[in-house]
């Protein structure tokens, strides 16, 4: 299949167009790329992730990715993010969302949902007597002998 771009003729459907008069001098599309990719040398020093940081992050993220692969991905993501500092943002307000000038919709205080225990529990991997089940937390409640004196 060898289709050529078919924009040669623009079928003008029933409208007289002053082609001659509006003849353009040149296309508005720039012929060359107008910017280049970021020059690495302009960026601050690459961040190296130390063991404490990755352990800390792992505890916060719980994805079991504190290995070499995870660290290198993270460092690459940070390096990429460092490009942001080539932009001058003095005096610019951060933008949370495009709805920042809108206001929050409020609903009436009526009971409209709930009371669907079976539906709620249906997707749970383990259920005991209508409760969800978790292992004990990492900080068990202390036993009697462990009081501070």
């Amino acid at each position: 299949m060898n289709h050529l771009p078919r924009l040669c003729r623009a079928p003008l459907v029933g409208r007289p167009v002053l082609l001659a008069i509006t003849r353009r001098l040149s296309s508005k599309v720039p012929p060359e790329p107008t910017w280049e990719e970021v020059d690495e040398t302009k960026l601050p020093k690459p961040t190296k992730i130390d063991k404490d940081t990755i352990d800390h992050l792992e505890r916060l993220a719980l994805v079991d990715f504190a290995n070499k692969e995870g660290i290198s991905r993270l460092e690459a993501a940070i390096r990429f993010a460092d490009q942001m500092f080539l932009v001058d943002t003095t005096g610019v307000e951060p933008m949370d969302s495009v709805l920042e000038d809108r206001e929050l919709y409020l609903r009436a205080d009526t009971v409209t949902e709930g009371n669907c225990k079976d539906e709620i529990l249906r997707n749970a991997g383990k259920v005991v007597e209508d409760y969800f089940v978790a292992p004990p937390g990492n900080i068990p409640l202390p036993k009697k002998e462990e009081y501070d004196r």
């Binding site: 800390h56 505890r59 916060l60 719980l62 949370d96 969302s97 709805l99 920042e100 809108r102 206001e103 929050l104 919709y105 409020l106 609903r107 009436a108 205080d109 009526t110 009971v111 409209t112 949902e113 709930g114 009371n115 669907c116 225990k117 539906e119 709620i120 529990l121 997707n123 005991v128 007597e129 209508d130 409760y131 969800f132 089940v133 978790a134 292992p135 004990p136 937390g137 900080i139 409640l141 202390p142 462990e146 009081y147 501070d148």
Partner: protein, 568 residues
């Protein structure tokens, strides 16, 4: 029977004596001590306490979902897909919760932010299904308020005011409650119930302006009363609808604050004081032993009365706050800014302020001014939630019973019966009007008569039209009847009195005076008797019965009457 009843009567009299001394119309000046506000701890240590109070908003449905809010329900029956954090669900804010937050903030003299924002606070926990809580960290609903409260001396039964305090309210914000975890020790599992997940909370954060446990406890109690008066939270700490975390530190100087520890799991105002006192002592011991207080979270073990370190290795928890992207800014309006045609669907601060109910402080003063009761009674009535009961009992529009006695009946006898039966006021089966009936029947009005140096209370019995210091008998009868009613006796009051023969006056001295009275009024009958007309005795008896409304015991009365007749 007579002797044991008599003995019992005497005991009751003594008890009532003590009580009536208390409820005497001696007025106690409000004792404002000149105690220094900054140094209640020994050894020159200054304590500082700030509180974070989580108050569950009384609303029909949750903060961001339409699930019902109810204290006790079968597990996971009050849970919607959003509460269970099923993927794709989105929060929608409940207007009533915003109104409750605004009303509470106004009562706490806060500045309401016209525009406030929601954020996510991230941490992993079994009862937090989304892995984050929606709260207001950057720009909360209200800031910069203050609250005044009195600290009472509870050591003596009279509620003497020790000092008046003010605490600054740093902010008030709306946030979600988490679910509940139950620890199944046997199976080494945690069972999670999400009924409470997503219920609306107001978090009220104070500055560390309090200096000890007593101040903090008093603040908490006053806040409970305020929230109950507003109807925004029932303030029930034992059920968990209000929870208090305390941030406690000690230091040598008043300017610099020491390292603070946070104490959680305090579920009554009494424990607020205990936990803080323990923790301050603990910190002092550590510092005096040349140690350092760790900035950590501790857990109050109420059975042992101690705070325990949670030994969380990750002491500095990074919550990674992030703006909640699913909730645009919350805007509240005033009359001036309210958009036309939308009055019903927006939250208007001015309208809410207009609907502000009477706050406890105002109530306490009003009761004193309006009814002339003593200040500490007013404090007790407000503190125990008995104001409406009291005002119904006084029945201003109807019979109009004496407020001061009414206060006394409510605060002593009624509360005593409740306490004896371990009932809460909510469970009280005797209504104010029923109590009023007893009051009327047994009869209490008071006349205060000063005779020289001492005020003597003279009680006039409406029914018996006697002036005698046998009010104690009536106290006894009163509490007997009340006890029977609490026990479920549903005879009419007159039946009770009659069947117990309490209305019968047997006391010879009393009867003697009644007879004297009658004889003086009916001298012609006395004359007749002297002349030998014995039938007159019957007539005189009739008069005595009329005067005592048939309460004079016949045998004794007859004897006394005859004696008196001899005398006259």
């Amino acid at each position: 029977m007579a002797s044991s009843a008599h003995k019992f009567c005497v005991e009751r009299i003594l008890l009532s004596c003590r009580r009536s001394l208390r409820t005497c119309s001696r007025s106690y000046a409000k004792a404002k001590t000149k105690k220094d506000h900054t140094s209640p701890l020994p050894g020159g240590w200054q304590g500082r306490v700030g509180l974070e109070i989580h108050a569950q908003i009384s609303s029909n449905s949750k903060l961001f979902s339409g699930s019902q809010v109810q204290f006790s329900a079968p597990p996971n029956t009050l849970v919607s897909p959003l509460d269970a954090s099923l993927p794709g669900t989105l929060p929608v804010l409940n207007r009533r919760c915003v109104e409750a937050g605004v009303l509470t903030a106004l009562a706490l003299n806060c500045h309401i932010n016209r525009r406030s924002l929601f954020d996510r606070k991230h941490y992993f926990y079994a009862d937090l299904p989304a892995g984050y809580q929606i709260t207001q960290q950057r720009l909360p609903l209200a800031v910069n308020g203050h609250m005044t409260f009195d600290v009472y001396d509870e050591s003596r039964s009279q509620r003497q005011v020790l000092k008046s305090c003010q605490v600054r309210i740093k902010q008030l914000q709306l946030e979600q409650d988490s679910g509940k975890s139950l620890h199944d020790q046997e199976n080494g599992e945690v069972l999670v119930d999400l009924n409470r997940a997503g219920v609306a909370l107001m978090e009220i954060v104070t500055e560390p302006d309090m200096v000890d446990g007593a101040e903090a406890a008093a603040m908490v109690k006053e806040l409970q009363l305020i929230l109950q008066a507003l109807g925004t939270c029932d303030g029930n700490m034992s059920e968990g609808s209000m929870r208090v975390d305390a941030n406690i530190s000690v230091s040598r100087s008043n300017e610099e604050l020491g390292t603070r520890a946070e104490v959680k799991n305090i579920n009554s105002a009494k424990f607020v004081q205990k936990a803080i006192e323990y923790e301050m002592q603990r910190q002092i011991r550590v510092l005096e032993g040349a140690g350092e207080v760790e900035e950590e979270t501790r857990y109050f073990d109420w059975k042992a009365g101690k705070t325990i370190s949670l030994r969380d290795k990750e002491q500095r928890h990074d919550y990674r706050y992030m703006p909640e992207p699913n909730l645009p800014p919350l805007i509240v309006y005033t009359d001036a800014t309210s958009p036309r045609g939308m009055q019903d669907s927006v939250v208007n601060i001015d309208r809410i302020r207009e609907q502000m109910p009477e706050l406890p402080d105002t109530t306490r003063r009003r009761l004193v001014e309006k009814y002339g009761i003593q200040f500490q009674h007013s404090v007790a009535l407000v503190g125990e939630g008995l104001v409406e009961y009291f005002e119904t009992l006084i029945d201003v529009k109807g019979k109009g019973r004496d407020p001061r006695s009414a206060a006394s009946w409510v605060l002593t006898d009624l509360l005593e019966q409740l306490h004896k039966r371990s009932l809460t006021f909510q469970e009280c089966s005797v209504t104010a009007s029923k109590l009023g009936e007893i009051v009327d029947l047994v009869g209490m009005g008071t006349i205060s008569k000063s005779t020289g140096k001492k005020s003597v209370v003279l009680y006039k019995a409406h029914m018996l039209q006697l002036t005698c210091p046998t009010k104690y008998i009536f106290c006894w009868i009163f509490s007997q009847i009340l006890g029977l009613l609490f026990d479920g006796d549903n005879r009419s009051l007159s039946q009770i009195i009659e069947e117990n023969e309490w209305a019968q006056i047997r006391d010879e001295e009393t009867l003697g005076r009644i007879c004297d009275d009658i004889l003086e009024k009916h001298t012609e009958l006395v004359e007749a008797y002297r002349k030998g007309n014995v039938k007159v005795v019957n007539r005189l008896m009739g008069e005595v019965q009329k005067a005592t409304n048939r309460c004079a015991e016949p045998t004794v009365t007859s004897r006394v009457l005859k004696l008196k007749l001899e005398e006259h």
